[in-house]
Amino acid sequence: MSQRRVVVTGLGATTPLGGDVASTWAALIAGKSGVRLLTEDWRELLPVHFAARVAIEPADQMERVEMRRLDRSEQFALVASREAWKDAGAPDVDKERLGVVIASGIGGVITLLDQFDNLKEKGARGVSPHTVPMLMPNGPAANVGLELQARAGVHTPVSACASGAEAIGYALEMIRTNRADIIVSGGVEAAIHQLPMAGFAAMKALSTRNDAPERASRPYDADRDGFVLGEGGGVLVLEEYEHAKARGAKIYCELVGQGLSSDGYHIAAPDPDGSGVQRAIKFALANANLSTKDIVHLNAHATSTPAGDVAEANALRLALGKDADHVAVSATKSMTGHLLGGAGAIESVFIVKALQERLAPPTINIENLDPAVTIDVVRDTARSLPSGQIAALNDSFGFGGHNVVLAFATL
């Protein structure tokens, strides 16, 4: 029996660039930054005074009563999933063949910390009965599963900043192995709070370019000094190809494969050899039955950290060899900031749009390209992609040494 094919039939997103896919994509192609100064007083406690908050608050996208029982990460998941499900035509499907795989890197950390404040201030009676369902990292997936009555399985892979991509890969396997026909998959994150920010700052992972927040996220620039924390999420509706055809669904493209590996090197630092990344790319290509010649576009992990960007760029050059010359590499975190567990998901949404529109998004804020970067970075303005059958890769890596590469192709 030939392998079940998996296609993308719906997209949803809420990001620092827009409250949905269309507005996010328009801002992305226009090279806009979603990074802003924080308005909270607590920013003064930190060496970093900015972040990339969502462009549209969930309060403007859902009912107040619903919101108060949901962590911010769960709100993002519902907003993006509702858009994606609607985009897929809100299909009437067998619920026992419908799954949800939505990840988050950290879970409901804002709820956890707010409720700890309540506990200290008011005692145990002041702690909300919704605390646990709001803080659990599987909460975003669980709430979407509940809303859609999904009964084929609801899952939450956790691998820090690779979580969103890993969720999409997990969904791919669920459909391929015939556990489901349709899966709502993606990743979300809501961690713009003084504690996680102080933690990242203590690792020296965050940019401290306080005088120019919009210029702070600058992957591949020689003067990059760390990532910018973002929030939001992205969701893809993945569907078995024959199932999608049978119901006359709009099909964006095919999710053709995934490659997974781990570094076994350091809890947070990237392996400078990038051998784990190279293996993940090799596995993804083999899993997708593609060769390096087929790849025309790549959405890099490229977070704007000094070590990470070059390690990844070197790994890409080694994995793709001479064929890297025809791969247009976009580092969209230059505009969205780093959505942690949401990153691999919104960047997958961007890849799907890039294949549909035949347009690679720009990478902004590169004033001086780091001479150590020898890949073809799409700088400043979007670039057209070739006609005909094309394929693209999405890289995601997470603290812990997790590497996930997803491969998408036009049909």
């Binding site: 009912e63 009563v65 909300s128 009965p129 919704h130």
Partner: protein
Amino acid sequence: MALSAADVLAGIKEIVEEVAGIPAASIELDKNFTDDLEVDSLSMVEVVVACEERFGVKIPDEKVTDLATVGDAVNFIVNAAA
């Protein structure tokens, strides 16, 4: 300080609307929190804690199960505050 039943009912309406999103107009003395108003067990905890804060009374956990209707809650709170 004594509370009037009308004041307590008005307060409960506001709380239930805030916590569970049920329009105050549909909240009446004979309505059952679970069956009529669809206040789930977690939201009921929120309602109880909010009533304690608002009316300055203690509603012990073992009493909560006896408060089936809005009227039960009004009576309990009026008596507890008396």
